[in-house]
């Protein structure tokens, strides 16, 4: 005890009698333009911030006399380290790859220096996000950092991605991370209407210490985005332009050509009764249905932005336009966005507004289904000897037994579009409370408003029309709006005394979400209008009675109280603790509230005295440790999963009520406990730097659709049951093999291994079937569970199946013989970026990879099952068993076809892909001469130009909606080449 007192005394005296000071002063300018740079951060070498430059780029600061050098950093510029003690300092900063930003972790509730950060978070290279021509930003997270698995298996413009952070942590509950833009929660599905050109920082918070400040919503990880802020100084203008073309990839699934198909039909009973003459003439037709559907897509984008201000008021504004047509005809996305961020105030009072308005128009086509009316299915199912148009230029009608609706007619005449209007904004007020030093109150109120107007026209001449009321076309028009309010109020006390940095903050947060929808579908589109004007008034006789609906898709609220505290000593030891209490309207009255906590610490070993001898070799060596809990309230069962609900139905013109779900009044929070251990290092003057992290996350009280006896009238009941674990290793490495004045080469790579394991399941039974996949204790979620196919009996042509023990084979399909295969969630993934820079010419090559998973290729089943004799078939069937003694793995067409329940259609889902390659040139200032142009960059880039995979289809990545199966109607990924120019004035 005495020793402790002594220690405290020494520290306190240290504060009171701090060492001698020296003054440094000077001016910071841009090395190209020579313009002064206001707002540049100045810090000591150990990362401690000491001040910023003023509006003229000048600074004058007191620093300890033993300070040998200080570091200047500014967003978008390379850091500069300058020795002190040489009088007036003249600092010239050059723009670069956002070096300084990676040194800050933005948690959304406050910024922290990366050095003192105790949690696990990844930062996205913003440059990539700005230039890749993809409408929905979440797709761009792919390969950018460890621990973030992204599925982007569709090329439909504007599609969002399926993002998993550190593995699948929930079974029935939501798994997509929480997205926060300037403190406001955003739906991933709406990123297509936001302009990622406005984003300034993107941080992904992965472990408990990082994410649990978002407690109730953090179990799935958090993506925190901040948008650009203005900086004091001369107003700067930027114009970015990009234009390019998209192409499609050919499917690896090869179909029979006309001659092969006709031969196959004749061999199996000639269902269409073709004569030899028919066969002769039809064999000459070979329609390439891919070319019929796909065309070259065009992408273009423009963005104009301005930023500036003075010391009191700063602003950033932008206007954006993005237009992408897909490779499937008629599909595309057009987007118009605008943003204004203003911050104003004095040292004591600060307030501001960040607001964006976006409008997008999406024209899409059906995907990811097995419906014969979906045009994308027709690429496989249409006959090669049918043409899309007949001699007179009319749509051909397939009057063979296939009767496949003319897919081109369906695609071109039936239109559907979504007009989305999105407004996101927040206002904040920050006040340094007088009388109490270092106490700041802040309140921030934000709103995310989204409205969608959805229109779908079905032409009376199409197949889809035969499926609607009255079989004479339809027009549907629906509208929905969602409003989410986020109000956060906090009180922060932050004080540094000597080598002690202390901060504590208490928060209150309230997030209500409300949504409404309504719509109608009208029938009898007889008049020549593709809108309400075409609808025929309904009577009992003509049957064109419109259907009208409406709903409340969201009606929930979340209330939270939380606090966090940070303490740093000697800018070398850091500890962090947080506590949070959350209430969600989604649970029953007694189960609403839950508590979450987290603790973490970090130690910069390389700053210790005993490390001094190594310091010139190892520049940074930091270890960090965290443990904490987070929650999930999204059970994927609407906003009232705790209650049994009767929903509206109709019978014979009478209204009725039907029990939709049994509800569970005891439903409560799903909880995730995370442990994280990490090492960060930099060696050889940071020529080699990186991090290694190990994590162990355990989700308990899993939201689980507990199978109940179906005699109850239900198949499942939502419950909290079972637990699962995600355990993994993440490696991040940055190497600078060459760095000379004129040439540099940087390799930035990341690798993640995630092992998902089901730890416990309810009911004492550990096997539950979800179609082709299963849950089994000790195995990953989404493990395939199928009978193992053993090939074809050469004597009979019948398929053979392995028995459960794998030793014998049987000709009788029995689900009791099912065994476990791999998982659908890739355990290994990552990305590698190589950057070469020579005198301003830069080549960046970005690869992504993913392996270790399997995919069920249902697309193949639909062209390999011989029962589909009359529609398009796979070339594989040409190898089918025909005569006794044939050795093949394709059974006789006469056999009982049960291959769909076997592993026959399981395929290796691994791939590596050249996600992006970009060649750019920064035209030197000397070349631009005295023109008003400050900076000029031109580039050409290509996306998805090469993919290596064994998967037999368009793409080894599943569409975001799917966990294990490629259903059908696949929209292939785009291969895009664009040219771009960035001008700074």
């Amino acid at each position: 005890m005495k020793k402790l007192v002594l220690l405290v005394l020494i520290t306190v005296t240290g504060v009171l009698f701090a060492g001698a000071q020296q003054t440094i002063s000077g001016k910071v300018t841009d090395d190209k333009s020579g313009n002064p740079m206001p707002g540049v951060s100045i810090s000591l070498k150990n990362g401690k911030a000491i001040g910023t430059t003023d509006a003229q780029g000048n600074f004058a600061l007191n620093v300890p006399s033993n300070t040998a050098s200080v570091v200047f950093s500014f967003i978008g510029y390379n850091d500069v380290e300058q020795k002190t003690g040489q009088g007036m300092m003249t600092i010239k900063m050059s723009s670069g790859k956002n070096q300084s930003l990676t040194e800050v972790v933005v948690t959304g509730y406050g910024n922290r220096s990366k050095r003192s950060y105790t949690g696990s978070a990844g930062t996205v290279a913003i440059d990539e996000i700005h230039t890749q021509p993809i409408a929905s930003f979440d797709q761009l997270l792919q390969g950018q950092m460890t621990g973030v698995s992204v599925k982007t298996g569709t090329g439909q413009p504007g599609s969002s991605a399926d993002v998993l952070i550190r593995g699948r942590a929930s079974l029935s509950g939501g798994t997509n991370p929480l997205y926060i833009v300037d403190g406001v929660e955003i739906n991933a599905a709406d990123f297509a209407t936001m302009n990622q050109g406005d984003f300034e920082t993107i941080n992904v918070l992965k472990d408990a210490a990082a994410a649990s400040i978002y407690g109730s919503r953090a179990a799935r990880g958090v993506v925190v985005i901040t948008t650009k802020r203005g900086r004091a100084g001369k107003t700067k203008f930027n114009y970015d332009f990009q234009y390019g073309q998209s192409d499609w990839t050919r499917s690896k699934l090869k179909l029979m050509n006309s001659a092969e198909k006709l031969g196959y039909e004749l061999e199996h009973g000639n269902p269409n009764g073709w004569t030899p003459q028919d066969v002769d003439s039809l064999s000459k037709i070979n329609t390439d249905w891919e070319s019929v559907f796909f065309h070259k897509g065009i992408t273009q984008s423009h963005q104009l932005s301005a930023s500036g201000g003075n010391e009191r008021t700063k602003f950033y504004t932008s206007l954006g336009y993005f237009d992408q047509t897909g490779v499937v005809r008629t599909t595309g996305l057009k987007r118009y966005t605008g943003r204004i961020n203003i911050e104003s105030g004095t040292d004591r009072l600060k307030y501001g507004i960040n607001a964006t308005l976006g409008y997008s128009k999406l024209q899409n086509t059906r995907e990811n289904d097995q419906y014969i009316g979906s045009p994308l299915n027709a690429i496989l199912w249409s006959l090669p000897y049918i043409t899309p148009y007949d001699k007179n230029g009319e749509f051909t009608i397939d009057n063979t037994a296939n009767a496949q609706p003319n897919p081109l007619r369906e695609l071109l005449l039936n239109t559907s579009s979504t007009d989305q209007l999105k407004a996101v904004g927040n206002i904040f007020l920050e006040y340094k409370i007088p009388f109490v030093k270092d106490l700041t109150a802040k309140t921030s109120w934000g709103a995310d408003y989204t409205q969608n107007e959805i229109q779908a026209y079905v032409d009376p001449s199409t197949y889809a029309s035969t499926q609607v009321v009255g079989s004479t076309g339809s027009f549907a028009h629906a509208f929905n709006r969602t409003t989410r309010i986020i109000g956060t109020t906090s009180l922060n006390f932050k004080r540094s005394f000597g080598e002690h940095d202390f901060s504590i903050t208490a928060y209150n947060e309230y997030i209500p979400t409300k949504a409404r929808s309504f719509g109608f579908t009208g029938y009898g589109l007889i008049l020549p209008f593709q809108n309400e004007g075409g609808i025929t008034a309904g009577t009992a006789d003509n049957g064109f009675i419109p259907t009208v609906g409406g709903n409340s898709p969201a009606n929930r609220a979340l209330l939270s109280y939380f606090a966090e505290a940070d303490y740093g000593y000697l800018n070398r030891y850091f500890i962090h603790a947080g506590f949070r209490r959350d209430g969600s309207s989604r649970f029953g009255i007694n189960k609403r509230w839950a508590n979450f906590f987290n603790v973490a610490g970090a130690w910069i070993i390389s700053d210790e005295n005993f490390f001094a001898s190594l310091k010139n070799k190892i520049n940074l060596f930091k270890v960090k440790l965290s443990y904490g809990t987070a929650g999930n309230d999204e059970a994927n069962l609407g906003d009232f999963p705790s209650r049994p609900l009767f929903g509206k139905v109709n019978y014979a013109g009478n209204p009725g009520l039907s029990l939709n779900s049994p509800g569970n009044p005891n439903l409560q929070w799903e909880q995730k406990a995370s442990f994280n251990f990490g090492i960060e290092f930099g060696i050889l003057k940071n020529r080699v730097s990186g991090s290694v992290e190990f994590y162990n996350d355990k989700t308990t009280n899993l939201f689980y659709s507990l199978p109940v006896s179906q005699t109850t009238g239900f198949t499942t009941q939502i419950s909290n049951a079972g637990s699962l674990r995600n355990r993994g290793i993440e490696l991040q490495l940055k190497i600078v093999p060459v760095k000379t004045k004129q040439f540099s080469w940087t390799i930035d790579g990341n690798f993640t291994y995630n092992k998902n394991t089901v730890l416990s399941l309810p009911n004492g039974t550990d096997t539950v079937n979800f179609g082709s996949t299963t849950l089994k204790i000790g195995m990953p979620a989404n493990t395939f569970y199928l009978v193992k196919y053993a090939g074809v009996d050469p004597a009979t042509g019948n398929p053979l199946y392995y028995t459960k023990d794998g030793k014998g084979t049987t000709q009788v399909y029995d689900p009791g013989d099912r065994v476990f295969f791999g998982t659908a969630d890739a355990p290994y993934y990552g990305g590698i970026t190589n950057t070469f820079n020579y005198k301003g010419i830069e080549l960046e090559v970005f690869w992504i990879y993913s392996f270790g998973n399997e995919i069920y290729n249902n697309d193949r089943l639909n062209v390999e099952n011989p029962a589909y004799l009359v529609s398009g078939l796979s070339k594989d069937l040409l190898r089918e068993w025909r005569n006794p003694g044939d050795i093949t793995n394709i059974p006789s067409a006469n056999s009982d076809y049960q291959l769909g329940n076997t592993n026959y259609f399981l395929e290796n889902g691994g791939f590596w892909r050249l996600r992006n390659i970009r060649l750019s040139y920064d035209i030197p200032k000397s070349f631009l001469g005295k023109s008003t142009i400050n900076s000029l960059r031109v580039f050409v880039q290509g996306q998805n130009l090469y993919t290596y995979t064994k998967y037999r289809g368009y793409d080894p990545e599943l569409p975001p909606a799917e966990q294990s199966v490629h259903q059908g109607a696949v929209y292939p990924p785009l291969k895009t080449i664009t040219f771009g120019i960035n001008i700074g004035l």
């Binding site: 009767a403 208490a506 009606n555 609900l645 009767f646 209204p655 239900f714 198949t715 689900p815 029962a867």
Partner: protein, 495 residues
């Protein structure tokens, strides 16, 4: 110094108060578009709404509906379990080249316990039952408001409960013997999500079904006997159900009595009116029908003939096609040889047109949605004939048989069959009259599992075309998902 400290404390306290002033009321939300089901039903109106909900379940995936619903995850199977499926599994229909083999494993009897079509049926029947059990839980407490109406609702609920359990028995029991100890169905009388019931024996299942039917008749007698809506069950529908179940159970006299009650009230249709029964132009002979009023309600028979998509997925066998006399008026309402579609030439082929759609649709353009006639009086002529034959009353049996034949065949001269020939004639007439109405597979199963053979006319390359007397497939397997969730559930032999 001290004053400032107090002031500081006050400011901090005030700030904290502001910070945490939000109250928990803020997270109270209530559903606006659905009724909270955790409370007892509040009124007879609510009971009636729930009853309509149960009728709506007859339009569901595993009952009388055949049209796949499309969602983003693809098409959901609609086996039309009690309309099309029993015929697809019989010798009346055969799969064509035009089919998507979504139901092939069922129609070729190669199903195992993981068959989705079977699971859908199992769940759908019990879904119907869970709704009426909620009504039956609360109806007595509500009856004082209007006892006649309450008894009518109760009668409908009991009759529906009996029917859904009986339909399950038809697929899942290995035998229809009245006193069999083999497993029948789990008979569910209370709504309880946590229940894990075992199967009763076939005998106990019958006991419960008859008890519910008789209670239903008693309730209808005590209150309003019929709501007057042909889309709802009434006392006659309860008698019809009783007659049908009695025939399966071999309670011949009960079958005769219940049939007589119906025959006395419902005449056979005139020849001129007969076609109108199938296009919903009239309700002749119909005791109860489940109404399909637009495509959004679904369609009962489109997995056999999908007229709107020009696909004859299952065609009538040549065998049944050849059974009808040229003078038989039924043929033109049941079967057609369709060559063209919307004016486009197509290979002519046999199609089932019995349920192609409501009038005034033309023969090629059936809208597909048409009421499903669950009970029609003609069935009870044939039921009474068969039951009377079994009781040894051959003359009464022959009279009913002749009544049907006279009503359907132009210039029919009364037959004089007797003995085994009379039984054969009754069975033949039953096949012809009730063709494509969801009876054939169950009748063959009822008649000592008469083997099915349609090998002479298989269109598809498939070589599976017969079902032997001792096949396991006469009884469907209990779905494996049910076996996994309910350890008390007993699987059928062979699965």
């Amino acid at each position: 110094m001290k004053r400032i400290k107090i002031k500081n404390g006050l400011i901090i306290a005030l700030s904290l108060l502001l910070l945490f002033s939000a109250c928990t009321k803020k997270i109270e939300t209530t559903p606006q578009f659905s009724l909270d089901g955790s409370k007892p039903l509040a009124s007879l109106d609510q009971a009636e709404f729930i009853l309509n909900g149960s009728y709506n379940s007859f339009l569901g995936a595993g009952y009388f509906n055949s049209i796949p619903t499309i969602n983003t995850g693809g098409a959901v199977l609609q086996p039309a379990s009690f309309s099309g499926m029993p015929d697809m599994m019989s010798d009346d229909l055969v799969e064509t080249f035009e089919d998507f083999p979504n139901y092939r494993k069922v129609s070729e009897w190669t199903y195992a316990a993981d068959e989705l079509n079977i699971q859908i049926t199992f769940a759908n029947c019990y879904n119907v039952i869970s709704g009426v059990n909620i009504i039956l839980r609360d109806i007595d407490a509500l009856s004082s408001a209007d006892p006649d109406r309450a008894n009518n609702i109760k009668g409908q609920a009991l009759a529906i409960r009996a029917m859904a359990h009986f339909d399950l028995l038809r697929y899942f029991a290995t035998t229809f013997d009245r006193n069999a100890t083999a497993p029948g169905v789990s008979y569910i009388k209370t709504y309880d999500v946590t229940a894990k019931p075992a199967r009763l024996s076939v005998k106990e299942s019958y006991d419960n079904i008859f008890a519910d039917v008789n209670d239903a008749i008693a309730a209808f007698n005590a209150g309003t006997a019929s709501s007057g809506d042909i889309a709802k069950m009434d006392i006659n529908a309860a008698y019809a159900l009783k007659a049908r179940v009695s025939l399966y159970a071999g309670q011949w006299q009960d079958a005769v009595n219940a049939s007589t009650t119906l025959i006395d009230q419902f005449p056979l249709a005139d020849m001129a009116d007969f076609p109108g029964i199938w296009t919903d132009d009239n309700d002749e002979e119909v005791i109860w029908k489940v109404k399909f009023q637009s495509v959004s309600d679904g369609t009962p028979y489109e997995n056999v003939f999908f007229a709107r998509g020009n696909k004859s997925l299952y065609r009538p066998t040549l065998e049944i096609d050849g059974l009808y006399d040229l003078a038989d008026i039924r043929y033109d309402s049941y079967i057609a040889n369709i060559g063209t579609f919307n004016g486009i030439a197509h290979t002519p082929r046999l199609t089932v047109i019995k349920h192609r759609g409501k009038s005034p649709a033309s023969i090629n353009e059936g809208g597909g949605f048409v009421d499903w006639k669950v009970f029609r009086v003609a069935e009870f002529y044939l039921t009474r004939a068969e039951a009377n034959y079994m009781l040894g009353n051959e003359s009464a049996a022959l009279a009913d048989l002749n009544a049907i034949r006279t009503a359907r065949i132009l210039g029919f001269i009364d037959g004089t069959e007797s003995g085994a020939a009379l039984l054969d004639a009754i069975k033949l007439e039953r096949r012809k009259e009730l063709a494509f109405e969801g009876h054939r597979f169950f009748d063959l199963k009822r008649w000592d599992k008469t083997p099915i053979n349609r090998c002479g006319e298989t269109d598809t390359p498939s070589s599976i075309c017969s079902l032997s007397h001792d096949s396991r497939a006469w009884a469907w397997p209990i779905p494996e998902t049910e076996i996994n969730a309910n350890p008390n559930m007993q699987q059928n032999p062979g699965y």
